[in-house]
Symmetry: C2
Subunit: 338 residues, 2 copies
């Protein structure tokens, strides 16, 4: 593979001049510029990003550590992150933690070893000592979706508070009183917040949230399945199961189907996160929708602000309720099943 020296030789100039042309430094004669361009073309030369990074101490690369690639929510997030980063001249390296703190740390470490310019994280747990160190060390960093409390790092996320209130009000209006939730890990902020917001909304309607109606999940399908099985085996099972993310809703659906029960006649279901498939499940699922694209873009902008020395901004965007028919809504939507 041709190096800058080959280009210099071919163009009959020094490597310094080649470098100046490549970086469009003003002080190069038109003639030299022309010859360098010709040589670059002739040799199919492409600058070695590794060498460049070593010298300039910047990689123009951002690291993104997401909790789970199989979760369409994070996939959508990753896509908008990559898009915005590309628009700003950065690439993105994605690390998938699979909701496991060790794997998250592994990725953070390799990303740092590669000297990425900044880190976007959606922490799988609430207190990764490594992440704390990294933050203290001054690495440009932004939290997306989830965050770690007590660190001075910008956070870009959606606020589900109001949407959860709306959801509970909606369920109450439909006549449901026994509402259960499949929570995310207590170690994640989103895990906690969604339960808390749910509990508060219940209280506002004078409803109790007994411990038996709080299933402990980990944001993965299997845990949703287990929690739902447990709900269904209760002497007084809930009328509605609210899953704190879309994968646990998938698991809940699996459990319900395995019992031969029907949604929403036997039990209703709702989910945090809206995904395209929720329109076509049997029945379509009432869900809380996050502005994923805007979240990803805002996170990249905040991170690049830090990297380039501008003051970053934390962003909180509202989530919204999307009513469908999985909670016994009377609906005339074409194609719904009853």
């Amino acid at each position: 593979m041709a190096s800058i020296k080959d280009v210099a030789a071919q163009a009959g100039v020094s490597v310094a001049t080649v470098s100046r042309v490549l970086n469009s430094h003003p002080s190069v004669s038109p003639d030299a510029r022309r010859r360098v361009h010709a040589a670059v073309e002739a040799l199919g030369y492409r600058p070695n990003a590794v060498a460049r990074s070593l010298r300039t101490d910047q990689t123009r690369t951002l690291g993104l550590v997401i909790s789970d690639v199989l979760n369409p929510y994070f996939t959508a997030l990753a896509r908008s992150v990559e898009e915005e980063a590309r628009a700003l001249g950065y690439s993105v390296i994605i690390g998938n933690a699979d909701e496991r703190p060790e794997q998250q740390d592994h990725h953070v470490r390799t990303l740092l070893d590669r000297r990425i310019d900044g880190l976007l994280v959606s922490p799988a747990d609430g207190e990764s000592p490594l992440l704390l160190d990294v933050a203290r060390a001054g690495t440009p960093m932004v939290f997306v979706d989830r965050w770690i409390p007590g660190v001075d790092i910008p956070v870009v996320r959606a606020d589900g508070h109001r949407a959860i209130q709306e959801l509970v009000a909606h369920l109450y209006a439909l006549g449901h009183r026994r509402l259960a939730i499949i929570a995310g890990p207590a170690a994640t902020t989103t895990g906690n917040e969604r339960v808390e917001a749910f509990r508060e909304a219940m209280r506002a309607h004078g409803l109790a949230l007994p411990d038996a109606y709080i299933g402990q999940g980990d944001f993965q399908a299997d845990s949703g399945r287990r929690a739902t099985e447990h709900f269904l085996s209760l002497p007084d099972p809930p009328e509605i199961v609210f899953a704190a993310d879309n994968l646990m809703a998938l698991g809940a659906l699996d459990a319900i189907r395995a019992r031969g029960l029907r949604v929403p006649e036997d039990i209703g279901i709702a989910a945090f996160d809206d995904i395209p498939w929720f329109v076509h499940t049997g029945p379509p699922i009432t869900a809380i929708s996050q502005p994923t694209g805007e979240l990803g873009r805002a996170a990249v902008r905040a991170l690049v602000d830090i990297v380039e020395g501008r003051p970053p901004q934390s962003v909180t965007l509202p989530a919204g309720l999307v009513v469908r028919s999985s909670c016994g809504e009377r609906t005339s939507t074409p194609g719904s099943n009853e």
Copy 2:
């Protein structure tokens, strides 16, 4: 950030010795080794992967260019690729082409600029000149899922031939005769093959596949929607629509629902690619399932074989038919809707 020099100074040895300890070269005294380890620990030193790559001319990084991150099939593929790569000591940088050749080329170029050790590609088109150049230049490369004919590059893919035959036989047995297909782009091998296999299977059953029953899609949901709308507006619409990937099946479902029609009573549906949501759609979708995990792992193994100088192996794995109830199957599966 501490460098190897700082470690050397702290340990009272030369950088050469530090490097030897780091790379577990045998010829270092136990005492020096101990002191270096202590210094590494004390300084929290981590080797700079950028510098190391420059010197050794290897990055221990693989590039993966996939056609669409929003497609659960590719997401699952990416996950298994990353997993296997990690097990073999490599990291993976994912580039998302969004089914757009220019974006694919952009990613290939940046990946190459970063001097990745090898490239895994699922080409968005059938003849990217860039990809051809890269292959000719001798960059270690493996095709996954899709490939470009006429280049001597290992291919790791699933063969849907037999599964499509089974599908058509299954549909025929159910009494269906008017079968339509939403094809992928003709520029992709998977796009072509699936239509060809379908056409052949139809012929084997003495069935015609009129042009009007071949919808041209691009593996994205919207095109599935448009093709299906067209099918439904035909004077003699098909009884079954077979989508060549899961996203186009999603689009087909959208179109059917928008018309207020019911699956499978009014029209049946089947898809290439099986995803977890197909169990819970209304009704559950009959699909062809690929061994995604094994595909990803085999692709990484083939690529690493090339990178490390061993002879690589092309791999073709069979896909299988998963019968559910979206084509009018009489079924007693609990929870199915009828």
